[in-house]
Amino acid sequence: MTASATAASAPALARATPRRFGVVLLAAAAFVLLAAAGYVFPRWLTFLLTMAAGNGLVSLGIVALMRGGVVPFGQGMVFAAGGYTAALLYNKLGFTDALGLAVCGGVAAVLVAAPFAPLLSRYRGIFFAMLTLALSMVAYGLLMKLDALGGSDGFNVGRPTLLGQKLPDDRVGYTLYLLTIFVATIAAVAMRVFFDSTRGLVTLAVRENELRVEYLGGSVRRAMAINFVVAAFCAGLGGALVVLSLGHIEPNFSFWTTSGEFVFVAILAGWQSVAAVFIASTVLEIVRSFSSAYFPNTWQLALGLFLLFVIRFLPRGIGSLWTKRRGH
């Protein structure tokens, strides 16, 4: 078992190492560029990009699961878990550090998701989608009814601090923007490394044919369970960061249409490219804010047509525009 695992991972590692260096370089460049650009961007644009990066983290997790051939339709649950955790820690315990809150959000989402991971790893296709949907709706129902958590109105969250520094009025938006894209960059690089690792490649093999993976000695269920937990961590990070920027949280974070939007972004991005996820997320935020400004009554219509267009003409997502077909 050990010998075969080493043999399998050796060529993967050999290919991955130079690529990994390039990925880190590219990510660092993208971060520096975005950070510098954010300094001159108008406030609405940095806010839009903050939301895009925060929501993109959730979709990044969905992509991790999509690589194994399953699509979760209930990531709103872990998104809300992260968000509520950050908000509650801030309001009840007075812990205000933004980075710490984000990490706590991720960890809380993992704690929420982990008990379900072994169970969900048995399901595929529609059943996986519907079970995750059911879980998120249970969470939604609970959040609506728990008055301690603000019930259906949710509650507000104050302004966080960062590394012991108070954030002044004129800089809070930019600082949270920096933090969010920083976390998103780290998560994107980590995810790329994870995708190219042996376990990540096993996930791809599961997508192709899971029985063969079992015959070759891989554990499909373990791969799926781990992907689910990884996805939850990303979603929790995203939820916490979004809440800190929004300053408000409500049960709708866990509603199924919220989850649907995350899936929308993941489909738009495709499962090949990590960067595509954040581009897709930005596209959604732009479509959302422009259509709600210019045609508020038909923005869902625009979104639906857009989604149909993508599925019909770009079935592998916008990531397929620049990712070479490898072995397909």
């Binding site: 339709f73 059943f127 489909i267 038909t298 599925i311």
Partner: protein
């Protein structure tokens, strides 16, 4: 004792409209292999159309009893307009694609229909109260029940029997069953599969609209009704087993009773009792109650 009767009757009424909607959903899945998120939108459109038709019937000075006919006509009209539009105009381009991708196609359809409904009928609520009082009240013990609720139960039974009879006792039904079993083999035997798809989808939409039209008198018809119906009817068909008519009936009963039990015993749990039941069923019967497990292909 009274409480038990209340829970049972409430559960039964809830189950009956749920069954009408879910049986359409399960039929569409059985034949076309599409889990239709937009099913809830057709339900909503059915309810809106019923509101318009009943109002129109009132201006035409029809006898009050004919509002039932107006609601039926509304459901027929919705199916006649929407089915060709969505199946021929959209879904057929995606046949044969991955099931989950098809869910997303219908999700897009749901988003579009959501706004189309708002454009056509506006955002204000509609009330269709006339038919609700048509059947008078019924006294059981010390409690009073609205006759319309029992009418709904009867309607659900009729719908269920009709669908069963058509599928198992008519030529068209047998052809449909053959397509459900294997569209490829059916096609090679000379069955016009796309016509069966079209017919099944139309019936599915008709049932969704019928459910919507006949619940319209019990609710206020406003944006958002579709969203709630979708997940609940999903729960029903998942519990029963996708594509199974009997499953939809049993699933609807289970969900209806679970919900009314929650409403009367533990109101806090109302919103999620259904999903807990669904999760529990899926844990022990991953394919639903009435679904044979299929062998995996290597």
């Amino acid at each position: 004792m009274n409480a038990v009767v209340t829970i049972l009757i409430d559960g039964l009424t809830y189950a009956s409209w749920l069954f009408i909607v879910a049986v359409g959903l399960t039929l569409v899945f059985g034949v076309l292999k599409i889990l239709n998120i937009a099913h809830g939108s057709f339900y909503a459109i059915g309810a809106y159309a019923a509101a318009s038709f009943v109002a129109w019937a009132a201006t035409m000075k029809w006898a009050p009893g004919f509002s039932i006919v107006a609601m039926l006509l509304a459901a027929v009209a919705v199916a006649a307009v929407m089915a060709p539009l969505t199946e021929r105009g959209l879904l057929r381009f995606f046949y044969g694609r991955d099931e989950v991708l098809l869910v997303l196609v219908t999700y897009a359809m749901f988003l579009i229909l959501e706004d189309v409904t708002k454009l056509l009928w506006g955002a204000n609520p509609y009330y269709v109260s006339e038919p609700y009082s048509l059947f008078g009240n019924l006294h059981v013990g010390v409690q009073t029940w609205v006759g319309y609720d029992f009418f709904l139960v009867a309607l659900a039974v009729v719908v269920g029997l009709a669908v069963w009879w058509v599928l198992n006792r008519t030529r068209q039904g047998k052809i449909t069953l053959a397509v459900i079993h294997s569209a490829e083999v059916a096609a090679s035997m000379g069955v016009n599969v796309s016509r069966v798809y079209m017919a099944a989808f139309s019936v599915g939409i008709f049932l969704a609209a019928l459910g919507g039209a006949f619940t319209a008198p019990m609710i206020s018809v406003q944006p958002g009704v579709s969203v709630g119906v979708i997940v609940v009817s999903f729960a029903v068909v998942i519990i029963g087993g996708l594509g199974s008519i009997e499953g939809a009936a049993v699933g609807a009963l289970i969900v209806g009773l679970a919900r009314s039990l929650a409403v009367h015993v533990a109101p806090v749990a109302e919103l999620f009792s259904i999903y807990i039941v669904m999760a529990v069923v899926l844990m022990f019967r991953p394919e639903g109650l009435f679904q044979r497990t299929q062998a995996r292909k290597i």
